[in-house]
């Protein structure tokens, strides 16, 4: 049986919690209580462990995560799971801006809404948002998939590279070089897998629209000057 270790952040320093979670050959399950919006909690993990944070977290929770499965039973501040490489981060509440920024891999699920710049500069991560996302989301998104069950704000996917975005609701506006694209069978399959992984397997993938790069701005050209 896996061991369960509890940290009470009202009694133990953040540094000590993170240091304990950086121990070599870490295994087992961990619960962090009373996070009280602490910044930089459970950052830099690199072990196949399960971590449950009971409460709200501040900036950069689970930043640069590798391997770990981290659940936040609350809301998350700016940059949750920023630059995640692998593993998963699951936010039961809402997330502030720049959720999953620059993340290279793994799965980020936000059951509630995500604020501005969700998936900014994402580099391979999969992000599933249960509600809406704010403006400038997926700005310069390079790779990975962003699924939005609600609506997207202004300038979605501005200057996007090869990431794919699926939105069920409305999009206030698309950013430069981001266009709606046809949902081919492989996209329905991909979306179905992502929704299932995030616990939304009942969604009809036909209700979603795919967005991606028109690839018109991939090379500087004077004729495109007004698009930037």
């Amino acid at each position: 049986m896996e061991t369960l270790t509890k940290f009470d952040l009202s009694a133990v320093a953040l540094r000590d919690v993170n240091a304990a979670l950086h121990a070599k050959n870490l295994s087992g399950e961990f619960v962090i209580e009373n996070p009280s919006g602490a910044h930089n909690l459970a950052v830099g993990l690199d072990a196949p462990v399960k971590i449950t944070i009971d409460g709200h977290v501040g900036y950069y929770a689970a930043g640069m995560n590798q391997q770990a499965e981290i659940t936040v039973n609350g809301n998350a501040g700016t940059g949750v799971a920023e630059n995640m490489m692998s593993g998963s981060v699951w936010v039961k509440g809402n997330a502030s801006q720049s959720a999953g920024a620059t993340a290279h891999g793994g799965l980020l699920v936000i059951e509630g809404n995500a604020a501005a710049r969700c998936g900014i500069s994402m580099k391979g991560v999969d992000i599933v948002v249960g509600g809406d996302i704010g403006h400038m989301s997926a700005f310069m998104a390079q790779a990975g998939r962003l699924v939005v069950r609600g609506d997207a704000g202004e300038a979605l996917g501005d200057s996007i590279y090869e990431a794919r975005i699926y939105v069920r609701g409305t999009v206030t506006s698309l950013g430069a070089d981001c266009v709606a694209k046809q949902m081919r069978p492989e996209h329905h399959e991909e979306l179905e897998r992502l929704l299932k992984a995030a616990g939304f397997e009942d969604d009809d993938t036909k209700a979603y629209t795919r967005y991606g790069s028109a690839r018109a701005l991939y090379h500087f050209h004077v004729d495109n000057a007004s698009s930037y």
Binding site: A19, G79, E82, N83, A101, K123, G124, E162, Y218, F220
Partner: protein
């Protein structure tokens, strides 16, 4: 020209006429490498007051003059202890070839100083050949991963660079080879843009938390640098210190770039000479001068420049353009090839094109193969040794047992502009303009 009646316009000189003609023909701004080429008040406008009756010099070949420097001992468990106060500035693999990056590591390590990654991540060659490697944390986060972060000896959060404060980066498609594209998660051959702002923080208060995150991830082992392009340096340095920087890097407008708009390079930022006293004042007012170390870059060429930067209050300098020249950039042996590219030895700045005949600023395998990283590393080490010996020569003449003991009192200026910027007296007077 034999007709002495011809008079060139100072306003519309030949380069200006050529720039207008080029713009009219292409409809797009000029992009180039290198740094500001315009004449600016610089270290050349300062002179040292060697010792005589009122000061006591050290014997040039006998008495020790130390050159080592410790960087980042405010918070980090493992600060950098460098043998010389001249470091290698951040230059990306992508902008530079793999062998060129390797040579920078080899040269720096041979003399016990640090080198720095760049926009695009850390290469194995670079890490392997660099005794002290500073890992840049940039807005694009290309190739950024926690494994490399943990392998680094220090982390440099980059807000800007002297050649383009307020600007992002670009790497034109010619240089986005399969390997570069793979490291940056980009399609091969695209014109790559780097953001000018970090994606997950926006102001100094956020930066405090971001620095906290980097420390937590690396268990408070590594010094955290903050690099800014020189503009509102006094305020930027204060904010960087408040945010928790262990080291502040200030890059003046003469600092180089791999690819930036000409208009940006020449018209944004302030000269290195003007930035140093502003940075030092900020550090002094916060009571952390030499506790939070100051690294200065942008136009460092000689040991005299090193000594002058240290005398004005820097703890170390960084070189970029000069390091590339030491490796072989702009060497006359490539004269014929530079001319084929429409340039000339001594003028070549088209680093963005990837056609560098010296094999340095290129991703073309054939061109890169021309460059020998072992020989290049040796040339760089030689050059770094000369810079160090020159700085020591001046320091001894000023009676200093360590190059870091040089001080503003050792300097005078030969122009009013330099006196005002550097805040040292005009030679032969007690006058510091503005004081």
């Amino acid at each position: 020209m034999t007709n002495w009646a011809l008079r060139e316009s100072a306003t519309f000189d030949r380069p200006t006429i050529a720039a207008i003609q080029r713009a009219a023909e292409t409809g797009i701004y000029d992009i180039r490498g290198w740094g500001a080429k315009r004449a600016l008040p610089h270290f050349d406008d300062l002179l040292f007051l060697g010792a005589s009756m009122s000061r006591y010099p050290l014997e040039g070949y006998r008495e020790r003059c130390g050159t080592d420097v410790v960087l980042g001992d405010r918070n980090a468990k493992h600060p950098l202890h460098l043998d010389i106060p001249v470091t290698i500035a951040g230059m990306s693999f992508g902008a530079l070839s793999g062998p060129a990056k390797e040579a920078l590591g080899r040269g720096a390590s041979e003399v016990g100083t640090s080198t720095t990654t760049g926009d695009g991540g850390m290469t194995a060659e670079e890490r392997g050949q660099s005794k002290h490697l500073v890992y840049q944390y940039l807005p694009s986060r290309y190739g950024m991963n926690p494994d490399d972060l943990r392998k680094a000896d220090a982390i440099e959060v980059v807000l800007g660079q002297g050649a383009k404060p307020g600007g992002g980066g670009m790497l034109l498609g010619q240089k986005i080879s399969e390997r570069v594209a793979g490291m940056r998660t980009l399609p091969e051959g695209v014109d790559q843009r780097s953001a000018c702002r970090h994606p997950d923080w926006t102001g100094p208060d956020d930066l405090t938390i971001k620095i906290g995150e980097l420390r937590e991830i690396t268990d408070w082992e590594k010094p955290i640098y903050v690099k800014v392009g020189a503009t509102r340096t006094y305020y930027d340095v204060k904010l960087a210190v408040h945010a928790g920087a262990d080291v502040v890097v200030v890059d003046g407008m003469q600092g180089g770039t791999a690819a930036t708009q000409e208009v940006f390079i020449e018209h944004v930022g302030v000269p290195t000479l003007a930035a140093i006293p502003q940075a030092v004042q900020a550090l002094q007012e916060l009571g952390v001068h030499h506790k939070v170390q100051l690294i200065v870059s942008g136009g460092i060429r000689s040991g005299a420049d090193v000594a002058k930067a240290l005398a004005l209050g820097a703890d170390a300098v960084a070189i970029g353009t000069a390091a590339l020249i030491a490796l072989g950039d702009n060497h006359p042996r490539h004269a014929a090839e530079y001319e084929k590219l429409g340039s000339a030895a001594g003028f070549y700045d088209d680093f963005q094109d990837g056609n560098d005949p010296a094999g340095i600023s290129t991703q073309d395998p054939e061109l890169a193969a021309r460059f020998d990283p072992v020989a290049g590393g040796r040339r760089l080490a030689n050059y770094l040794r000369v810079l160090t010996m020159e700085a020591q020569t001046i320091a001894r003449a000023c009676g200093k047992a360590h190059v870091l003991h040089l001080e503003p009192e050792d300097l005078v200026a030969v122009s009013i502009e330099a006196a005002a910027m550097a805040r040292v007296p005009l030679a032969g007077t007690e006058w510091i303009p503005g004081r």
